[in-house]
C-alpha cells in the first residue's frame, strides 16, 4: 500500500510508566479543540483494562480469511472517561482535595494494579500509539474513503475534509486508536508526528522518552535498529498479531523478571513471574522465540561476550535511535519556551 513504512520499536523491559510520552503527545496535539479527552499515546498497565476500558473486547480488525470484522464504538462516559479537574483552589482554604466530578473511568485508571497475589503479583507497562498498520482496518471501514496511507512512509491519516464523523473507523480499529472529536464531529488519531518526521525529527513521544525505549526508522533500512530488532533478531513483535492488520509498532516483550516465591518465601528456581501464556495472548506465538533470543543474548553478555542485540537495546546514544529520511538537523535543540 505504501512504498516505504515507518515503524516504531518499543522495548517494554525499559518502560518505567512515567507517562512522559503521553504528556509530550498531549501538549503537542491533544490539549485543545475537542481533543482534551483523547490520548493518541497512552501508557497502560498490563494485565489490565487499558484505555479505553477493555479495548481488547471491542472487536474490529480482520478475520483469518482477511475479511473486515464488526466492532463497537466506545462511549465517552463509560469507556474513555470524561476529563475532570480537581478543586485545587479550595484546598488552600482547608477543603478536602477531590475531583470536581465523580469519575468512574479514565485513562490509566487501573495503573499498577496488575495481576497475581502478593508476593507473586506482577505487571508491566504497555505504551500504545496508532500502529500505522500495513492493512489498516480503519481505512478499510471508512465508507467515505477519508482515511489514507501515505505512500512515502506508510503513516495512516484521516482527511478531515472528507471525514463525516460516521465512526465506522472507530468500530473497525481493533486497537481503538481512533477517537471521536465530539466538538468537531470528526474522527482523529495519532499522526506519527508527520510534521516533525518531515523535518527529520522523531515523533514527540519517542523524542521525549526518558527510558529510551522507542526506536524509529524505516522497515526496509537494513542498517537501522528497527530492521535489526524486527527482521534480523526478531525480538520486536507486534501487539495482537491475530487482529490481522499488520501493525507497525513492534514491542520487545518483557522478560519474566524475578522468580516466583514459594510459601516459605524462597524463590522457585526456573519459575516465571509474568506467565508466558499471558505474553503469548498479547504478542502471539512469536513471543517464545523472541524471549529465547533475548535470554540467550543476555547469557552471552553475562559470559563476557559481545552482543550486538543488547548493545542496540541499551541505546547508548539517544540520537542514534532514530533513522529518518532527513537527518536530524545538526546541533538541533528543542526550542525553549519563555
Amino acid at each position: 500500500m505504501s512504498t516505504r513504512q515507518l515503524a516504531m520499536v518499543m522495548d517494554l523491559n525499559k518502560c518505567i510508566g512515567c507517562q512522559t510520552c503521553t504528556v509530550a503527545c498531549k501538549t503537542q496535539w491533544t490539549n485543545r479543540n475537542g481533543r482534551e479527552g483523547m490520548y493518541w499515546n497512552n501508557v497502560e498497565t498490563k494485565p489490565g483494562d487499558g484505555y479505553p476500558k477493555k479495548w481488547e473486547e471491542f472487536g474490529g480488525g480482520f478475520d483469518a480469511g482477511g475479511n473486515l470484522k464488526d466492532g463497537v464504538v466506545p462511549s465517552r462516559y463509560s469507556d474513555y472517561g470524561v476529563p475532570w479537574d480537581y478543586n485545587a483552589e479550595e484546598i488552600m482554604r482547608g477543603k478536602e482535595f477531590k475531583p470536581q466530578s465523580d469519575p468512574t473511568v479514565g485513562p490509566n485508571w487501573d495503573e499498577d494494579v496488575g495481576a497475581g497475589d502478593f508476593p507473586n503479583s506482577y505487571f508491566f507497562y504497555l505504551p500504545r500509539i496508532c500502529n500505522h498498520c500495513s492493512n489498516p482496518s480503519c481505512l478499510a471501514a471508512c465508507p467515505r474513503e477519508a482515511i489514507f496511507k501515505r505512500s512515502q512512509d506508510g503513516i495512516v491519516l484521516v482527511d478531515l475534509n472528507r471525514c463525516e464523523g460516521n465512526r465506522l473507523c472507530i468500530a473497525a480499529c481493533p486497537y481503538k486508536k481512533i477517537y471521536f472529536n465530539t466538538k468537531l464531529s470528526k474522527s482523529e488519531k495519532c499522526i506519527f508526528c508527520f510534521p516533525r518526521i518531515e523535518k527529520g525529527l522523531p515523533p514527540a513521544c519517542a523524542d521525549q522518552c526518558v527510558g529510551r525505549i522507542r526506536f524509529v526508522g524505516y522497515l526496509d533500512d537494513v542498517e537501522g535498529q528497527v530492521y535489526k530488532l524486527v527482521h534480523q533478531y526478531k525480538v520486536a513483535i507486534p501487539l495482537h498479531p491475530e487482529y490481522g492488520t499488520q501493525a507497525n509498532v513492534y514491542y520487545v516483550p518483557p522478560m519474566s523478571g524475578p522468580r516466583r516465591f514459594d510459601k516459605a518465601g524462597k524463590p522457585i528456581e526456573g519459575s516465571e513471574r509474568i506467565p508466558t501464556p499471558y505474553l503469548e495472548h498479547l504478542f502471539g506465538p512469536a513471543v517464545h522465540d523472541a524471549l529465547k533470543t533475548l535470554h540467550s543474548e543476555l547469557d552471552r553478555r553475562r559470559a563476557g561476550q559481545h552482543s550486538e542485540l543488547l548493545d542496540t537495546l541499551i541505546a547508548y546514544k539517544h540520537s542514534e535511535m532514530f533513522r529518518l529520511d532527513k537527518p536530524r538537523p545538526a546541533g538541533f535543540k528543542l526550542p525553549v519556551l519563555k
Binding site: 500500500m1 505504501s2 516505504r4 513504512q5 475537542g34 472487536g59 474490529g60 480482520f62 483469518a64 480469511g65 482477511g66 475479511n67 473486515l68 470484522k69 464488526d70 466492532g71 463497537v72 464504538v73 466506545p74 462511549s75 465517552r76 462516559y77 474513555y80 470524561v82 500495513s134 492493512n135 489498516p136 481505512l139 478499510a140 471501514a141 471508512c142 465508507p143 467515505r144 474513503e145 506508510g154 475534509n161 472528507r162 463525516e164 464523523g165 460516521n166 465512526r167 465506522l168 472507530i170 468500530a171 473497525a172 477517537y179 471521536f180 465530539t182 466538538k183 464531529s185 522497515l219 526496509d220 499488520q246 507497525n248
Partner: protein, 386 residues
Amino acid sequence: MTPRALLLCGLASTVAFASEAFFKAEVVDAVGPMKLPTTPGDPAWKGIAGKTFRMTPQRSVRLNDKTANEVLKSAPGSSEVLVKAAASASELVLYLEWKDPAKEVVREDESNVFADSIAVELPEKIGRGMRLPAISMGDDDMHVQVALLRATKAGAQLSRFTAAGFGSLTRQAPASEANSSMQYDEAQKTWRAVVTMPLEAGTPGMVPVAFAAWDGARGERAGYKRLSSWHFVRLANQALDPKWVEQMAFGYYPGDLGDAAAGKALAEGVCVACHHLPGKAFAPAGIAPSLEAIGAIAAPSYLRDSITAPSRVILHELNPNQHYATGGPADKNGALPNSDAFRWSARGADGKWVSKMPPFTQFTPAQLGDLIAFLKTLDGPPLEKP
C-alpha cells in the same frame, strides 16, 4: 411508431393518461409558481396534497458496526415519508414528514450517539436518453446531488454534496442554509422538514428525487439508513418530454413486466451465484450487492439495464480494502493485497471500467420481464407498527 409511443405524443395530459399507473405510484405534483413556503410549519403546506413513499432499511451493502448490525438483525420494518412539493422557476422546496419515536440530535458530550437526519437526492443530469443514477449515491456516469439535514440542538445542520457512487460523496461549499430546516413534534413523534434544492433551467417538467432517513437512536448513520427508490416531482406549467416519461415509466405499462413466480425460479437459479436473495445467502457477503430488498430501492428501468448491460451502470464496491487475500503475496512492508473476488468492477484493456457481472443478454424479453417483476416484489420488510 408503436401504439404506446403514439399515445405518448402530444400534450402532457396525454402522457399522464398513457402512463397513469406510473404517475399514480411515483409522481408527486409540485404546486407553483408561488411564494415558496420556507419552513415545515408554514401553513401553506396544509393546503398542498402530498404522496407517501416507502423507505426500507439499507441492505445492499454491509457495514462493520456491531451495535447497528444487531439492530438490523432484529429485522426492523420499513417506514414511510410523506412528501409535498412546491416550486418556482429556480427552486424546488420539498416538505418531508416521517415518524421517529425519539428525537436524537448532534451531541458534544458523547462519542457513540448519532443524530436523526434526512437527505434528498437528485440526479445531476436528467432528460431524454439519460437513465436514472444508481440509488446509492449515483455511479460513475450518472452523478447525484445530495442535501442532508442533520438534527442539532439549535435546529438542523444543512450539508450539500455531489456524489458518483460509494465513497465519493464530496461536500459542496458554501452550503447555503437558507430555507432548509427540520422540526420535531414531540406529541406526534414526527419529524417535519423542508429542503430547498436549486432547479436548473430547462428541467424537463419532472425531477427524479429520492429520500433517506436516519434514526440516531438505532445507531443509524452513513449506510445504516432507510432509503426510498427514485420518485418524481412533476413541475406545474412545464411541458413533459414524452420520450423521457416513457423511459422512466418502464415497468408501469401493461405487458412491461411478467410473472414474478417464474422470475423467482430464474433468480434463484442464476442470480444467487453472486447475489443474496431473501433466505438465499449462498455467495460470500460482499462479492456483489445484496438483492434482499432491491425492489424497494431500484426502478424497473434500472433493473433492466443492470441485467442486460451491467457495464452501463458502473457501481464500485463500498471500499476495496474490506477484504484482503490472506495468501498474499505481501509487499515488502507486510501489506497483503486486496482480494479481487470482492471487487464489483475491473478496468478493461482500454482503461474503461467493466462490471464484474456479465451482461445477461440470453434472456428473452418475457424472461427479463419475469425477472424484473420478481425483483420488484423484494420491497423490504413490512411497514413498522408505531
